[in-house]
């Protein structure tokens, strides 16, 4: 009798699960989305913050004014952006007028590649790899999480706090300090190591999904790792060693069963775009 009771209990436990797995229609009806990680207001706050960082980056270097190159970088960036897992963002791409070799991401969808970095590239998959890495920082919300940028009360950069304070001096100062810290991350301290790893891993899949050979970023790293001096000073200071990054990219590519042969480098199209660059 005790055994029968136990069996009845077990059957009762199993019933909802059986229905869940066996009846696809019922599953669809029951399936519910996880609550969004960010609210719409949080995204607005992220974009506002990102605009300040982007304006400072442009203020520091200036834009490289070449219509054809700007268009090309935008086309490559948007080819990746259609595969982004943050459809709420509008991505913007631009070239910074400096011989320094680097690329930057500002929260909210702002991505910059330096003219110096583009000069070191040999094909489009390398450019795609650099942009995809920066997109990985935005999609991973690395700065947003680190600086706790959201629209709720208690956040260091809180829209609500600003409304309550009526845009007070202290609120503006807190906002400015957070932007300072983001600039420190980009130019001095770098992202957390795990954030860099995540961005590199995502680069491999994002490039492959967009049809680009993820080995492009590996080739680019191998080339710039040989460049020493002022042009890579910030990049070297803020990123993990190239050897470790190249190894990670190769391992990720192998684990995801990505074969370069089925993906493109668009070397000729890159060469055509570079004809406009002196």
């Amino acid at each position: 009798m005790r055994m029968l009771s136990l069996l009845a209990l077990l059957v009762a436990c199993c019933l909802p699960v059986t229905a869940y797995t066996a009846d696809d229609q019922a599953w669809r009806q029951r399936a519910s989305a996880a609550p969004p990680e960010m609210t719409s207001d949080d995204v607005t706050e992220e974009i506002r913050f990102g605009r300040e960082v982007a304006a400072r980056l442009i203020g520091r270097y200036g834009l490289y004014n070449n219509d054809q190159l700007t268009k090309y970088v935008n086309l490559v960036g948007l080819s990746l952006a259609v595969n982004s897992n943050r459809p709420e963002l509008t991505y913007h791409f631009a070239v910074l007028n400096t011989s320094e070799i680097n690329a930057y991401a500002a929260p909210g969808g702002y991505i910059f590649v330096t003219k110096g970095a583009i000069d070191k590239m040999k094909d489009e998959s390398e450019l795609a790899g650099v942009i995809a890495h920066e997109m990985g920082h935005i999609n991973g919300k690395h700065v947003v999480r680190e600086l706790d940028i959201k629209a709720t009360e208690g956040s260091a950069v809180s829209g609500l706090a600003r409304l309550i304070g009526g845009g007070t001096e202290s609120a503006r100062l807190a906002f400015s300090k957070a932007v300072d810290k983001a600039m420190d991350t980009l130019f001095t301290t770098g992202y957390k190591r795990e954030d860099e790893i995540q961005a590199d891993k995502e680069t491999v899949m994002l490039c492959a999904v967009a049809g680009y050979d993820p080995a492009g970023l590996i080739r680019y790293f191998e080339r710039i790792s040989a460049a020493k001096g002022k042009s890579t000073e910030v990049l070297d200071k803020t990123h993990p060693a190239y050897d470790a990054r190249i190894l990670l990219l190769k391992e990720t590519k192998t684990a995801a069963a990505i074969e370069s042969a089925v993906l493109k480098t668009y070397k000729d199209r890159f060469s055509d775009a570079m004809k406009s660059v002196q």
Partner: protein, 162 residues
């Protein structure tokens, strides 16, 4: 003793079923489109394409790939294209006035101004900020306004020239 063994076996069975069920979860396509492959490889045959917002049933994860149930078959989608949350609506670009409100400082759109002066910071903060920290809103506006047509992008993605 025999009863105990049966009980343990049944409990293990229930645990397995529950585990399998919990491994299944709803995933939503976040990218514009997501190819569904027959195996976790870009070389595998394509079973179909799911558009943004499509709800998929995940039945496991294999590295960078999400295994899903697709019209009665097992399929694989790049995990970076999926999320457990529904895709959010596109945010429109923030107008310059919002920034002005946020900063609490009236700023002409064409002004190229130092960050410290624009924000009315304390003297120490103004000293702390170097000449490098300038805000170029003109440049930002140009970057934000830059657009390529959908037709151009599609042509480019299909391998066309610039």
């Amino acid at each position: 003793m025999h009863t105990v063994r049966i009980t343990i076996a049944l409990l293990a069975l229930v645990f397995t079923i529950v585990q399998q069920a919990s491994a299944q979860e709803t995933q939503y396509v976040q990218s514009v489109k997501a190819k569904v492959f027959s195996a976790p490889s870009f070389k595998a045959s394509v079973l179909g394409e799911a558009s943004r917002g499509t709800r998929l049933r995940s039945i496991g994860r294999e590295g960078s790939w999400m295994k899903i149930s697709y019209y009665g078959k097992d399929g694989y989608v790049a995990a970076i294209l999926l999320s457990a949350s529904r895709p959010m609506a596109k945010h429109t670009m923030i107008k310059a006035e919002d920034t002005e409100f946020q900063q609490g400082v009236r700023r002409r759109a064409s002004t190229y101004t130092s960050a410290a002066a624009a924000r009315g910071l304390a003297a120490d903060d103004r000293r702390r900020l170097s000449g490098d920290d300038k805000l170029d809103y003109d440049g930002l506006e140009r970057v934000e306004k830059y657009a390529v047509s959908e037709a151009e992008l599609v042509r480019f993605m299909e391998g066309g020239t610039i």
